[in-house]
């Protein structure tokens, strides 16, 4: 599987994504500067976590104006896989590649802790290696992860099996405990928890590996 990680100014989990991808795929991803207008030939594009543009104005809003976003949209339109983690998820909603928006945590505080998730959907290239209903533990680290969408959109997401991860103990007020969703074509996933931080036993867990293993199986 060939992959790329987009480097936005202050999207500070780019190296974490790079490390995890290198470890999991055995191949270093391309690191793509946000001002570039073309993507290298890859199967997967990762929008990493962090605070692109300091999260000023709105999380993800300014990153969405980057040159590279056009190429990412084209890649997604052609069915290429896109994974948005945390800030990356926020960018994808700003870009309209995923529905809804991520608002300030209901408790108004940034929260960094491991959370328990239920894998709701295994019919996707991101989650096929998990079991449906499986409980996994992945850390969150965000101040604005409170997923919002209108009721119709939420119903649609549920009806189409696009709610992929749900919090077992909702930490941020997200509608219907949603932690991660797919787009209609199921090739774009956004999630608030950080799977790239749990692919290594030394870091207290390996539950994030499933996403990368699923992608490797689906895309190589």
């Amino acid at each position: 599987m060939k992959s790329a990680v987009i480097v936005f100014p202050a999207a500070n989990c780019d190296r974490d994504a790079q490390t995890a991808l290198t470890q999991m795929t055995g191949k270093a991803p391309h690191m793509v500067w946000h001002q570039d207008s073309e993507l290298p030939d890859v199967d997967l594009v990762v929008l990493p976590g962090g605070f692109s543009y300091g999260d000023y104005l709105r999380c993800g809003a300014m990153a969405n104006q980057s040159n590279i976003m056009g190429a990412i949209k084209t890649h997604a339109d052609k069915g290429g896989a896109v994974l948005g983690i945390c800030n990356g998820f926020q960018v994808l909603t700003e870009a309209g590649l995923l529905p809804g928006a991520l608002m300030r945590n209901a408790g108004l505080k940034f929260l960094c802790k491991p959370v328990a998730l239920t894998v709701e959907e295994t019919q996707s290239s991101f989650t096929r290696k998990y079991d449906k209903g499986q409980e996994i533990h992945i850390p969150i680290a965000h101040g604005e992860g409170n997923y919002y969408a209108d009721e119709n959109t939420l119903d649609r997401l549920e009806g189409e099996g696009r709610v992929v991860f749900r919090y077992r103990d909702n930490p941020n007020g997200s509608a219907r405990d949603i932690a991660g969703i797919l787009n209609e074509k199921r090739n774009v996933l956004g999630l608030m928890p950080h799977p790239e931080r749990v692919v290594d036993d030394a870091l207290g867990g390996i539950d994030g590996r499933g996403i990368f293993q699923s992608l490797i199986e689906a895309l190589s």
Binding site: A61, M103, N105, L108
Partner: protein
Amino acid sequence: MKARVFITLKNGVLDPQGKAIGHALNGLGFGSVGEVRQGKVIDLELSGSDAEAAKADIKAMCEKLLANTVIEKYEIELK
């Protein structure tokens, strides 16, 4: 020219920050305070003097960047 843009959450979108402020104000003894909503205000300096053109420009800025119209609405005020 100067302009002010207000960006507030759409009605019906829950505003936890506003709620917390309302709660805190009540707690401080300001019992008369009912609903509270928080939004952003963006003050812009603009070159040029055509008000209509400026308004159109600002509208475009809001749609493109300043507001997320999934959850927010905006108002523009020229000064």
